[in-house]
Amino acid sequence: MAALVAVMIVVTVLRASSQDLVGAKFYRVLMAWLIFFVFAEGTIYYGVFKSILLAPPTAVIHRAMFYLEKGYLQINIASTMFRFISGFFIALTLAAPLGLLFGVYDKAYEWIAPASNFLRMTPPPAILPFAIIVFGIGEAPAVFVITVGCFFPIFLATMRGVREVETIHKEVVQTMGGDQMDVLKHVILPSALPSVMTGVRIGFGIGWLVLVASEIVAADSGLGFMIQGGRMRLDTPTVFVGMATICILGLTMDMFLKQLEKYVTVRKKGGGEYIYY
């Protein structure tokens, strides 16, 4: 508490002494956050809100340190990441080749369009109870549901990317005496890659959402399970630790994917922009 107020004073003094050192926007954002923390800490300390409803930031930090010391947080992060990464990569290895196939032979997509649309519109958590009965309780249903969640964004984006390849680029390769494989290797794959990356980022957003949902509903480990357990024991700091960890992991992976997208889309204008998740 005192430390936060001290930081506020120091930053204000710094800003008063030199405008260049602390920018206006940075100052405003930092101040807003500090005031928020002081407000949260103070209201709970003086009993305005019950500590069950909103954990004070210091309690959250203490709880996080305690869990880190005991290794509890690491175990849950590991099992969440294992689930997510396996589901995500299964979806990627299925969706990208299928999208490529249906993008090249676009007459074939007409045949499966209604069936695929119906599956796409069924929210993955609705499939979860069915998956639990079929696969049994354990890792498999969660991984399956994450796979379903990630599959369609990647599949559709890949298909769209392959269809939007310029015909003239393909014809150039054919004129130079290249065969189908050359067209695929030198034209279709490089042109479709930015679109695939967009699909991967959207799929990541949906998969992350579905992961948390499935861990809250049915799991015996992971960050979603930790949040659910914290709620049942009315242990609000644990809930906040879980949410903050999910936030940090999601941000890190999204930043990594954004960099990857920028690297992939060098030749295309744009890229790396906002995706609505």
Binding site: K25, R28, V29, M31, A32, W33, F36, I52, L53, E110, W111, I112, A113, P114, A115, N117, F118, L119, M121, T122, P123, P124, P125, A126, I127, L128, P129, F130, I132, I133, V134, I206, W208, L209, V210, V212, A213, I216, V217, L223, G224, I227, Q228, G230, R231, L234, T236, V239, G242, M243, I246, C247, G250, L251, D254, Y274, Y276, Y277
Partner: protein, 290 residues
């Protein structure tokens, strides 16, 4: 809505496989005739897709009929259809559909109003409200289901906490699309309004709102998809007083009643398609500037 009974286990009269296949072929025949008579409504490409869908349903029926896969784990579509008709006739299904649709409509309306308002605040009036952006970004990266625990603590068990997390899921796509829309406003159009003596609020009404309309629609379509995911999640953990299709699915899952699970799955998929189509209808209603 409160105190709804368990989904009844008896499923009324079950269609036999032969009858089911007869009805299916009759529907397909009618569709073929419609395809010949009204090719602009029932197009050839739609027929191809429906043929594959029909093939999947028939083979699924036969797999269950010859018990290749245990019919308890994979109930035949004839049984699913019969149960759906039975649950509808006793009024059980309508209650659950009403509860789910009520929650998602409520949250969607809230999200639309608040998303567009706050989106305009942090982008068009960014001088005053830009500090909100960092808070919103911090909230955005925590997926909506993770808020479930806090929502229950804050709002208690009931519709309110379900509506809160559905709102969170729909809010951010709409907010970000409104922000992206404001960024796409052409400076020339803004200056035209200013030249003719309009002020900042005239620009907002005449230029910014028509431009962001289309962007917000895109955001709303993404949002409703996420909204369906969150509404099902909220109902699976029975946040909102034992009602809704998600609760029906989870409750039947516990009773190993997969037929009801499948009824729920199909209804949610169907409602998802319908909601998407409704939002699609609003495309092109407001003329944009580009």
């Amino acid at each position: 809505m409160h105190g709804t009974v368990f989904p009844p286990l008896e499923i009324g009269e079950v269609l036999s496989t032969v009858h089911f296949l007869e009805i299916l072929s009759a529907i397909f025949l009618i569709l073929t005739v419609l395809n010949r008579l009204l090719p602009h409504i029932v197009s050839a490409s739609l027929m191809k897709g429906l043929a594959v869908l029909g093939g999947i349903i028939v083979s699924w029926e036969l797999i269950s009929f010859y018990e290749i896969i245990n019919p308890v784990l994979l109930p035949p579509p004839s049984r699913v259809v019969s149960l759906m008709a039975h649950l509808w006739s006793i009024g059980f299904l309508q209650t659950q559909i009403y509860s789910t649709v009520y929650k998602i409509t409520y949250a969607f309306t809230l999200a639309l109003v608040s998303g567009v308002t706050i989106g305009i605040m942090i982008s068009y009036f960014s001088n005053t409200f830009s500090f909100l952006e960092s808070f919103l970004n911090a909230i955005r990266v925590v997926p909506a289901p993770a808020w479930l625990a806090l929502a229950i603590l804050w709002f208690g068990i009931g519709h309110a906490s379900a509506i809160f997390i559905i709102w969170l899921g729909i809010f951010f796509p709409i907010l970000l699309s409104a922000v992206a829309g404001v960024a796409k406003v052409e400076q020339v159009q803004v200056e035209t309004v200013l030249t003719f003596g309009g002020d900042k609020y005239d620009v907002l009404l005449e230029v910014v709102l028509p431009v962001i309309y289309h962007h917000v629609l895109t955001g709303a379509r993404i949002g409703i998809g996420i909204g369906w995911i969150t509404v099902v999640t909220a109902e699976l953990v029975s946040v909102s007083a034992n009602s809704g299709l998600g609760w029906m699915i989870n409750d039947s899952r516990i009773l190993l009643d997969i037929t009801t699970v499948m009824v729920g799955m199909f209804l949610i998929g169907f409602l998802g398609i319908v909601s998407d189509a409704i939002i699609n209808r609003f495309e092109g209603l407001v003329p944009g500037w580009d």
